[in-house]
Subunit: 499 residues, 2 copies
Amino acid sequence: MKESLKFIRLQQKELSLLGGVSALLNWDQMTYMPQKGGVERAEQISLISRLTHDRIISDEFYNHILKLSDKKNMKTLEKHDRIIVERLKKDVEKARKIPSEYIQRAAKTISLSYNAWQTAKKKKKYKLFAPYLKKIIELEQEYTDYIKLPGHPYNTLLDDYEEGMTVNKLKNEFNHLKKPLTKLLEDIKNSKKYEKQKPITGTYPAEKQREINELILKHMMIPSDKSRLDTSAHPFTIQINNDDVRITTRYNKQNPLSSFYATIHEAGHALYDLGLPKGVYKDTVISQAPSVGLHESQSRFWENMVGRSKDFWYYWHTILKKKYQNIKNQDTWYYIANQVKPSTIRVEADELTYGLHIILRFEIELLLINDKIKINEIPDTWNEKMTELIGVKPRNDAEGVLQDMHWSTGDIGYFPTYLIGSIYSAQIHKQLLKDQPDTPQQIRKGDYQDIIKWLRRNIHRYGRTLTSEQIIKKTCNEGLNANVYIQYLKNKYSDIYDL
Amino acid sequence: MKESLKFIRLQQKELSLLGGVSALLNWDQMTYMPQKGGVERAEQISLISRLTHDRIISDEFYNHILKLSDKKNMKTLEKHDRIIVERLKKDVEKARKIPSEYIQRAAKTISLSYNAWQTAKKKKKYKLFAPYLKKIIELEQEYTDYIKLPGHPYNTLLDDYEEGMTVNKLKNEFNHLKKPLTKLLEDIKNSKKYEKQKPITGTYPAEKQREINELILKHMMIPSDKSRLDTSAHPFTIQINNDDVRITTRYNKQNPLSSFYATIHEAGHALYDLGLPKGVYKDTVISQAPSVGLHESQSRFWENMVGRSKDFWYYWHTILKKKYQNIKNQDTWYYIANQVKPSTIRVEADELTYGLHIILRFEIELLLINDKIKINEIPDTWNEKMTELIGVKPRNDAEGVLQDMHWSTGDIGYFPTYLIGSIYSAQIHKQLLKDQPDTPQQIRKGDYQDIIKWLRRNIHRYGRTLTSEQIIKKTCNEGLNANVYIQYLKNKYSDIYDL
């Protein structure tokens, strides 16, 4: 028993170290790696992944877990060890269902597929990517066969990102959203204010944007000795170790809000990583987020509920005014940060149409996994749905089906977590306002300490002791509920567009 | 046979990938890591080291090597495979003499010792470091017992950095150097020009220094898509993979030559790394430098023989003039780059006194390994030798015995390679001028292509097919020869100081 406990502790510690090593290899690839370093970098990442997987599925590790999870033994364990062993058993048994040969084959296919996607996107030709997408879908189908969760095969894919989530639940929530969102979009388009879109004018030097970003990080209490802010093509957050969580942003000289909101978004992720449970759970499977969706709820919460609120701009418009010496007032910044602009591109989408982008991808992924659509039909379906849901049509494949890298990297089932995160963020926001009604006043002062304390207490500290939905239920008294999100959006946009 | 060949190829490939992973962890630690990430970074580095060592000493690997190195089998191998197997056998048998337990214990002691050294240096108190140095020396002595090369125990330590080098050989060369160097220093001090030292005045923005550094990298044909230039407390070069070799420098606004020469020095290392043999030797033990000293010869060659030559400044003084808008002419820059300034600090030493710094360390290391000096006597011995050799006395331990980190990291036997490299660089330079007499004219034009080609052909391409001394013998027709170095220094300083 003691020996087994010691073994699984050490194993988790080393897995966590290897995870950090892998994270650094990825971070460097996205930020500073010289261009030609990429080929062997892929090999380095793949080697560390293999070493990690081999460790997870090793018989020695599993036998220790089995020994500890024996009913009699479990009773003698302390509560936190029991939680760790249960969690580990589930994780390891899932991993052991996947043959190592599959892992390597998949890694290779993904690598080729990602390259093909890059070329295809550059040349705006879906055809160049299609055969690889076919292979990716076959790989994913093979994967669902190994794991075989009950119900729809897509459930298995979802579960990797959002444990316990099912197609039925999601369809229910997303269908619930679809009409109100398109209706709201319609109303906004018909409003008088919509006609008077305000473009951002002027140029905003990256150096000044960076200074403001550093300032918001300080306000969000991201410790500068445990973090970094860098630049990458796509902003991301990555944990290198318990005391090293890094975020990236990207600068657009024509739009100072682009890097600003990316930074706030990523800082939301970073706060979560830094707030995960330590102590008895340090370097264990518990000191992680229970799902990608809950992680996304934290970034969305900061980006939208805090960062795109009127109260937020009460404080920050003076900071931006000083820095850029322009004369935009609070209301203008608030409006610019929130104006609805239907676009074919997800990452440029406003808060309202963003959800519709996700629903589109979710629906196509379901068709793909079920073989209910031919690979070559996807662009047409994509474009039709885009027109139907958002009212815009991609001019080419790069603006349409090829815009996101997710499919090329085998991340089918990932997109929904973006919308799940958005819904959760609205629920969290609602509960926070109930628990701490002076939150808006604090936001007006640029003071986020109490918000962070509340998040630490109600979301972060659970780690994986509970599932996402359990955490949300515990904190917000109900599970995933799209209605809260709809209400939040209606209130916001009614105000902005005088609906 | 085929299977064994395949196995050792793959094993070397993965060891090389792991080496790169470790390199990235170190590079990041020295450049961008947030301060508090250090504790777990040490654990990550140590885990990768252990995984690497375990692989090197695994029975499976050794058995394949033994099988291949069987006389009969060797005969059937292609020449390059024979070379690889021989080299591997030597490396692996050496590594297998060290117990894994020792590796871990040493890593821990070094980590503590390095921290203690940092504190001690900050507080300028040798006493805080002394007990750790004692442990380091004991570890090194234990190590020499495992490997036990013939002769002086220090031979074993030397051999790790400079294969085949012995205390006797070194004593011979270094003693040979000592008198002429101190004599030359004396003559310079007594010269008229020495009295008129020229201080560098003005300030030189880091950004402009950086631009010049990027320019010299271009001239030195360092490919920008396979390299980076960053900033760190101590400049270094590190190879992340075959197509990713990074260098660092550091900026001193009062002295533009500091970052310039550091960059040239490190670029010399990088050129060597990039020029190591590929093809049949790619990702094998052969595609490495045979010794630290030969590696250092490349950096010294570029820094001193090229970078501190009069011809070099013929080209670069116009570049610096444009950039800094100051009026220093070629002769002034040349003089500033070469003026002799006895200092207590090795890394600030001029070309002449640098060697004396190394001799001092070499002599103390010999005493330490032989237990011929007590740990608490070292500062006094250090200061006496410093006064005797260089004519300056450290004002405190930070300027004396604590200035270098090498002992704290267990690198006893490393210092001599700096001087070996300097001697080799003079020999290489002499031969290059013989082989390509128009070299000075090319340097005057800032054109280093033919120099690089010559180095590739005569030094880089050998990798570890030969030892350093064999390479030097082959190229320069004689082994390590301090006389050439003395002659080079005499010629140079006679000219500068009108001796």
